[in-house]
Symmetry: C2
Subunit: 395 residues, 2 copies
């Protein structure tokens, strides 16, 4: 007789109902429920019952079951606050790794996706993937030694500034040392545990949706403007990846088919008007060798070239976003990446550009700056790893 694992009970059965109820409780504990405080305050059993819609007795059974398996910690209530429940630290840790054009960031998180510790280092832009992984590995080992307390890392989330489909890193001028690499296979082997790879803008969208300014918005767009320009889409409260995982490639919308040649080979792409590299290159004569921070400082001091260049970048970003709001009609647009440090110096013209090109019904979609800043993709990588970690006990 074939052995049937407990998890695959027939749909509609009482066993599957029990599994589903346990998953509801775990999901609230993971911090996914929109009503949950974002600051990690543990919920009470009564709140768990309200948030899951389950009977208090059912919740109490499930919590006891999870606690006896060491997956949750409970703490007796004090005063008017009843027993609180949280995922146990000993249930496991996850790690997030975020590679950029010139940086790598590594973080440890708990199974709810909350950050435990993090580190960030500069990296040279032409690094080979294994060179990058060696540095990340060293950083992770150091974080674990200091903050891990012997708890194992169960899953790793890895963000890369490139389109990723079927785990393969597709064409990326931003990360040349990674192109064609099967990121999941190579990194899972390297770290000797499951690694889940994702485009960095997608991770930023996830992070802003769960813990940032897009919280509570069912459909939002996270626009990341750094060395490249990419977007992550949240549709009906979930990350939307498209058929092959490449959705959100806003950076290569053609704005002018006779425009400047883009590194992707096409012409007049948004990225060729609005990336950090483009802005730096446009100011090469006026502010030689200035990085984005010096350009932003100059603009704040009233340097006309710097102001105008940022404005023009913003108008083009707005044009690209008009395509997004016309097609997707999101309820919020979040602008992140290093360029978002420009704040209203950029966003003001982004809004003007969007209004100029969007249909009336969508032209007033709010455009706001990222709340999580440059850490958005790293936080998203930890959330991805936590999401992919199963937290369940059999009956």
């Amino acid at each position: 007789m074939p052995v049937r694992p407990a998890a695959t009970s027939a749909p509609g059965s009482t066993a599957s109902l029990r599994t589903a109820n346990q998953a509801r409780v775990v999901n609230v504990l993971r911090g996914r429920a929109a009503e949950l405080p974002a600051d990690g305050t543990p919920v009470t059993q009564a709140e768990l019952a309200r948030l899951t819609g389950l009977a208090p007795a059912t919740v109490s059974n499930i919590v006891r079951h999870l606690a006896s398996a060491g997956l949750v910690d409970t703490e007796p209530g004090s005063g008017r606050r009843g027993t609180t429940v949280r995922l146990a630290r000993s249930a496991g840790l996850v790690a997030g790794i975020d590679f950029g054009h010139r940086h790598v960031a590594v973080a440890l998180g708990d199974l709810s996706g909350a950050l435990v510790a993090e580190d960030r280092r500069r990296l040279h832009a032409e690094h080979a993937y294994d060179e990058g992984l060696e540095i990340a590995d060293g950083m992770l080992t150091a974080l674990l030694a200091e903050h891990g307390h012997g708890v194992p890392v169960r899953n790793i989330g890895l963000g890369l500034p490139a389109p990723i489909s079927d785990d393969l890193v597709r064409s990326s001028a931003i990360l040349p040392g990674w192109v064609g690499v099967n990121a999941r296979e190579v990194t899972s082997g390297w770290f000797d545990r499951p690694v889940h790879t994702e485009n960095d803008a997608n991770l930023g969208a996830l992070a802003e949706h769960r813990h940032g300014v897009a919280r509570g918005h069912a459909t939002s767009v996270f626009l990341k403007i750094s060395s490249g320009v990419g977007a992550g889409l949240i549709v009906d409260n979930r990350l939307f990846r498209g058929a092959d995982g490449t959705a959100g490639e806003i950076g290569h919308l053609t704005l002018d088919e006779q425009g400047p040649v883009c590194r992707c080979g096409s012409r007049g792409c948004l990225e060729a008007y609005a990336s950090i590299g483009t802005v730096e290159a446009m100011l090469a004569n006026q502010l030689p060798d200035a990085g984005i921070d010096r350009i932003l400082a100059a603009a704040r001091d009233g340097n006309v070239s710097a102001v105008r260049t940022l404005e023009d970048a913003g108008l083009h970003v707005g044009w690209g976003l008009a395509a997004v709001v016309n097609l997707l009609n999101p309820d919020l647009i979040v602008v992140g990446g290093e360029m978002a440090r420009a704040g209203d110096l950029l966003l003001h013209s982004v809004r003007i550009g969007m209004r100029r090109h969007a249909v009336d019904a969508a032209a007033s979609t709010p455009v706001v700056a990222s709340e999580l800043g440059e850490r958005a993709s790293l936080i998203g990588a930890v959330l991805l790893a936590a999401d992919r970690t199963e937290i369940a006990v059999g009956p």
Copy 2:
């Protein structure tokens, strides 16, 4: 003690499980299950069990319960085929109404969304909304007299070529007599039963997804090119409407900000290069007063102006679709509306335009002609009405 309606049993309870199981069976009978034959062949109880994942005894109980309420008809099996089940015609009818720039179509359908009878009439473009409704009402009455057999129409689906949000018909140069009308309120009053309004391209997307060429594709885009250019999006097997219901406004993507002034007030919109009106206007000197059918005939006969005009329209459509595939990464694009009659005369250059402007990863997204043709929106209106009709019995 407050009375609690049976339908709102607590989530996770056995009663809600029963309700959910009944809904699964009903959903398969509605023809929503992807595995179901599209031709309306009734399913057997055994197939129902397989398609719902429920135990045969559970299915058999639910079917008995639905049959005793007159909602399904069963027929004893013959040979190797067991008892078959279908939604009872006497359970109710629905109607679909599709208004266009110059036509109105009306159809009767059963609760599975299958068409029972239909009619189509020409309409002058400047009709007031109540004039249009009077004609549609007359057509519906005639269809009911001939095909209704006294069964009541429970719900009506209504398609309009305009952005619709909060039931209000937003700016539409295509249907001037409807702008600002609260379509749901006005028409529900007129027909004295619930009317569900929806953008016509959205209805076309729904129809192609359920009964047309997009069947089995989780993420698809239906592009409607008629007097206007609009799109309907299927995301994760569901119609995606966006935050305010205006998603899919592809017709007003800015392709050239110095381009021709569009009727929307912006410049260089896709619609200003590719709608039927644009194509007719471009050929006003070469083929005076030719409608789209004469233009297509001329192109097939090798008329250089007609061929070139269609080609240019197609290249611009491809550019607009490149924005769609870059952002959404769908697995199929379906081109419908009257312009789709052009077939490869148009689609060949659409594909070239798309490849020219899309990122590599998405440039090869298949572009195919609509299978349901001009009836797509009407079929979608019937499906919408059927979907919104509750089919359930209390415990």
